[in-house]
Each structure stands twice: as structure tokens, then as C-alpha cells.
């Protein structure tokens, strides 16, 4: 082996170890029964496997049943609605050639450029005044809206790759815009729909900031806000329970990421 290759392997092994150790300790200590924890991290798997107990403690303490249901609603419905509304807008801009299309696109896309801190305070005030604060509807509407700009960006890129002749031909046959959209553009876009949906589902599932700001009660707040509350009672429940909580709430998006890694790379390519 050449020296360069050896150096490359050495770099990867050392950095890899630095990255794996926290993951390993995360799993081992999430599986340690709180009684065996004793104030210090454990390096060996415990004699009695405490993961399921810890998960159920975390589940109860953070009211995760309610949080999982709410968050599934926000992430699934928010993702679907964002895909629908964004592709309708992209369709109008690309295929229906709405006047000033690029400007409309920029207006929608502008929603994703600024840091979210810019929206928080007026959103909070508006939500309190309009009785949307701490409601399922309020959270769903917000998550849909925040997912639309990036979704429109991807769908617009995608629709530029659909041959315009297809839409023109259907229109000459008397098909209206809705039929062209539903029967021609949509079937050609299933991959793009899935990409956008998965990315937005993941984003919504992992959001903490809006959950903290716009919701309060256990039946409304999304799952990361519930985990944050569990973390707040860190001292009372102890690290193993907090870690088990972090583990269980991560599973859906973690599995999704590795099941469809290609989709995430495609999403990165889109931003790149």
C-alpha cells in the first residue's frame, strides 16, 4: 500500500472513532436501567436490558403518544399540502406561463431565504389574536406554509424538464388546465413529489423552534418540543431516560433517511 493510501485510511479510522464513540455511548446508556446508571456514563452493555423500560418512562413523562400523533399529522398533512400547493404554483409559472412568472416565483421563494427568527414574533402575536395559538390547525397551517418555498423551488426545476409540447397537445384536444395538471404533469412528477414530501416530512418532524413558539400543551406541541421538555426535567428522570427519549423520537426520520438516502442527496443537489 502506498503511503498516501495509508494516511487516508488512518484519517478515516481516527475521525470515524471520534464520530462513533458518542453514538455508541448514546445507545448503551439509553439501554441502561436508571438504577444501574449511578451518575456516570456506562461503557458496557448493562446486565439487564433497560431500553424498553427507559423508552416507556420517557414515553409517559413527555406524553409522547399525543406528540407522535400530532407530529404525524403536521408532517404528513403538511408535507402533502405543501407538495400540492407548490406544484400547482410551479405549474402555473412554467406551463401556464403566468405573466411575470419569475417574479411570482421569487415572491414565494423569498419565504425561505430569511432566518425564521424574522417571522416568530409577529406570528406569535397573530396566532394569539386569531386563536390559532396552541391549536392543531395553527401548527399545520404554519408547517405547510414554511414548506412551500423550497417545494416550489424543486417543483419549478422539475417542471422545466417536462416537454412543453405535452401540455400544448392536450390543450389543443380541449383539456383544461386542471386536466393537464392532473393527467399529464402529475403522473410525470411522482419522483419529484416523493423527494419533496420526504424532505419536508423530515424537516417538520425535526422542528423545535416553531413548536416551542406556537404551542404549549402536551396534546398540541410537536415531538421535538416534547423531547425538549423531557430534557428540561433531566435531573429528575436521569440521562438514560432522556437518551431513550431522544432515540425513540429519532427513529422515523433516521430510518427514512437511510431507506431513501438517494432522495436526500437529490435534495442537496437541488439546493446546490
Amino acid at each position: 500500500m502506498r503511503i498516501g493510501t495509508i494516511i487516508r485510511h488512518a484519517i478515516l479510522l481516527i475521525l470515524g472513532a471520534v464520530w462513533i464513540i458518542p453514538l455508541y455511548l448514546f445507545l448503551v446508556n439509553a439501554a441502561t436501567p436508571p438504577k444501574q446508571y449511578g451518575g456516570k456514563e456506562r461503557w458496557q452493555l448493562p446486565q439487564t436490558f433497560g431500553l424498553t423500560d427507559n423508552i416507556s418512562s420517557a414515553w409517559k413523562a413527555a406524553h409522547l403518544s399525543e406528540a407522535v400523533l400530532s407530529t404525524a399529522l403536521y408532517a404528513v398533512a403538511g408535507g402533502v399540502l405543501a407538495v400540492l400547493f407548490a406544484s400547482m404554483a410551479a405549474f402555473a409559472i412554467i406551463s401556464l406561463k403566468v405573466r411575470g412568472g419569475f417574479l411570482w416565483f421569487l415572491i414565494i421563494y423569498a419565504g425561505t431565504i430569511f432566518p425564521f427568527q424574522m417571522y416568530l414574533s409577529p406570528l406569535y402575536t397573530m396566532y394569539v389574536q386569531r386563536h390559532l395559538y396552541n391549536t392543531h390547525l395553527g401548527m399545520l397551517v404554519l408547517y405547510t406554509a414554511i414548506a412551500i418555498p423550497f417545494a416550489t423551488f424543486v417543483m419549478r426545476n422539475h417542471f422545466t424538464s417536462v416537454p412543453p409540447d405535452l401540455g400544448e397537445a392536450a390543450r389543443l384536444d380541449g383539456a383544461g388546465s386542471v386536466r393537464v395538471f392532473a393527467n399529464i404533469f402529475a403522473p410525470l412528477s411522482l419522483n419529484a413529489f416523493a423527494t419533496v414530501f420526504i424532505l419536508q416530512f423530515t424537516w417538520i418532524w425535526n422542528d423545535l423552534l416553531f413548536g416551542l413558539t406556537l404551542s404549549r400543551s402536551a396534546d398540541i406541541r410537536p415531538i421535538m418540543a416534547a423531547l425538549a421538555a423531557l430534557q428540561g426535567q433531566y435531573s429528575s428522570s436521569g440521562p438514560p431516560v432522556a437518551l431513550a427519549g431522544a432515540l425513540i423520537v429519532s427513529i422515523p426520520t433516521f430510518v427514512l433517511f437511510f431507506a431513501v438516502q438517494r432522495v436526500f442527496v437529490r435534495g442537496l443537489r437541488a439546493t446546490a
Binding site: G4, W104, Y119, I148, S177, A228, Q231, L268, A272
Partner: protein, 308 residues
């Protein structure tokens, strides 16, 4: 009879005219109807709050009651507030740390693992944290970095007791500790981006340089890195914007403390608005943060839009 035919003919004309004007109208209206849901949601929930924040930054709004215009007072206060100068300094640390750590390490890992046997297996540890949420990352690193946490016991076991620290309690160490925690998560994305870059750079110039005897570090410095430049810009842009927006990790690990020593602009804005109810002042901070993010975004946004 003739009259009747005539009138029915004219009726037909009228209907035809109405139909065609209806279809012309719907032809003109329907594109807008397609955009309407997206436009309404984005305007009401993102653009309007954005404009209102910009306006609130010139007021003394406290969350309830009247918002009174105070001109540039909030911005003036911003430059004299010791909390803000700490927050600015920490934000700068995050920017520098992000350039060095997620971007630099990402490049190193991507280049080292590209074309190496077992490369995708080597990359796995760096991708796994990327698939976790910021809140979960913060929970793990809180556990790693507390006083009697895992990092200190690793240092103890290696005989490096002198390096043991209260990682999350001492500024500016707590900020750097959290930058590292964030790197642990974020390096995956730069590895992926640089890999995409490595896959699309032209092979010929590299082969030619290799035939000329360029190898290892020289090949990287003179050929690979310059050819990767477009992707480097994108990765730097994305990483910087993400690090400027970091909230979850700081909020969970230190809440910006102790004594507001580890806040960044994103966290200071949140505390000022939702803990101290100074919505006007918080808005001014978010405007400053937006200006910084915008400048960084323009670096790569212009490229993105031009290429699409």
C-alpha cells in the same frame, strides 16, 4: 316563426359569446388560481410577518398594547448592549468554527474516502448523526459534556486529567463545545456535497496531471481543490447559513447560559422576545441576523438561480 328562429339564433350567439368570453376569462384567471394557495399561505405566514418584524424593529412593542415608534433606538441599544456584544462575538465564533470544522472536515473526509475501498462504509459514521434531529443531538452532547460526563472520563482514562473541563459552563469554551456538537451532526451534509462535487469534476485534467507526476497533496492542491471550487462555494454557503440559524442545539444544551454567555444572535432574539417580552428589540436583532444571512446567501444564491 322567422322571428323565433332569429331570436333562437341570437340566443345561440349570445351563449357562444358568453362561453368564449368565459373560457377566455378562465384562461386568464386560472393560472392565478393555481398560484393562489401557495401565495396566500406564504404571504400571510411568512412575508407579512417578515415585513411586520422589520417595522417592529423601530418600535418599543412589548408583546401587548401599543407599538410606539422609537426610530433607531433599538439599533442604537444593540451596539451598546454587553449581552449583544457577547452574542455577536459568539456568532462570529460559530461562523469561523463552521468554516473550519464541518466544511474543512467534510472536505477531508470526502477526499479521503473517495475512490478508497470501503469508502461508503467509512462514511457511515458521519452520515448517521446527520439523520438525527438537532434536539436529539443536543441531548446526546449534553450527556457527553456535563461535568461528570463521558468526555471528561475519556480524558481521565487517557491520563489527561489536566484537560478535564466544565465544558458547558465556561465561556467561550461552551460555545466551542457546542460548535463541535453541531459539527458532529453537520459534517455529513458537507461530506455528501463534496462527494457530489468529486463525482462531477472532469477526470481528464486530473489524469493529465497525474501523468505529469502530480500526486497526493500536490495533486489535491493544484488540481482537485480548484476544480471543486463551485461545490466549495455551495457547501460554505449552506453551512454558514445553517450555523447562523442554529437554535436547537444551543437552546437545549445551555439555553444560551450561564449568564447569557453562550447566546448567538438567533438565541438572543428568542430570549429577548419570548422570555423578556421585548418584541421591538428582538425584532431589531432578527433584522441584523437577516442582513448577515442575506449577505452570506447571496454568495451562492445567485449561482443557484442562474444555473436553474
Amino acid at each position: 316563426m322567422a322571428q323565433l328562429t332569429e331570436s333562437s339564433a341570437s340566443l345561440q350567439n349570445v351563449t357562444a359569446a358568453r362561453v368564449s368570453s368565459w373560457s377566455r376569462l378562465s384562461g386568464r384567471v386560472s393560472p392565478y388560481l393555481f398560484m393562489l394557495p401557495a401565495l396566500i399561505l406564504v404571504s400571510l405566514l411568512l412575508l407579512w410577518p417578515f415585513l411586520r418584524s422589520a417595522w417592529l424593529s423601530f418600535t418599543n412593542f412589548k408583546g401587548i398594547g401599543e407599538a410606539k415608534w422609537v426610530g433607531l433606538d433599538n439599533y442604537r441599544q444593540l451596539f451598546n448592549d454587553p449581552v449583544l456584544s457577547t452574542s455577536m462575538k459568539n456568532t462570529l465564533y460559530w461562523v469561523i468554527g463552521t468554516l473550519v470544522l464541518p466544511v474543512g472536515l467534510g472536505l477531508l473526509i470526502a477526499v479521503a474516502s473517495y475512490d478508497v475501498r470501503g469508502g461508503s462504509l467509512y462514511r457511515l459514521p458521519f452520515l448517521m448523526p446527520y439523520a438525527l434531529s438537532g434536539t436529539a443531538i443536543a441531548t446526546v452532547w449534553q450527556f457527553m459534556l456535563t461535568k461528570n460526563g463521558a468526555l471528561n472520563s475519556i480524558l481521565g482514562a487517557l491520563g489527561l486529567e489536566s484537560l478535564e473541563r466544565s465544558w458547558l459552563l465556561r465561556p467561550p469554551l461552551n460555545t466551542w463545545a457546542m460548535i463541535f456538537a453541531s459539527t458532529w451532526q453537520a459534517v455529513g451534509v458537507s461530506v455528501l456535497l463534496f462527494l457530489i462535487g468529486l463525482q462531477v469534476i472532469p477526470r481528464d485534467p486530473i489524469e493529465a496531471a497525474r501523468l505529469d507526476g502530480a500526486e497526493g497533496w500536490r495533486l489535491f492542491r493544484d488540481m482537485t481543490f480548484p476544480l471543486l471550487r463551485p461545490m466549495t462555494i455551495v457547501t460554505v454557503g449552506i453551512s454558514l447559513v445553517n450555523s447562523l440559524k442554529t437554535f436547537d442545539i444551543i437552546w437545549i444544551m445551555t439555553q444560551g447560559g450561564p449568564y447569557r454567555s453562550s447566546e448567538t444572535l438567533a438565541v438572543t432574539m428568542y430570549r429577548q422576545t419570548f422570555v423578556l417580552f421585548e418584541h421591538g428589540y428582538g425584532a431589531a436583532i432578527s433584522v441584523v441576523l437577516s442582513v448577515i444571512v442575506l449577505i452570506v446567501s447571496l454568495l451562492y444564491l445567485t449561482r443557484t438561480l442562474r444555473s436553474s
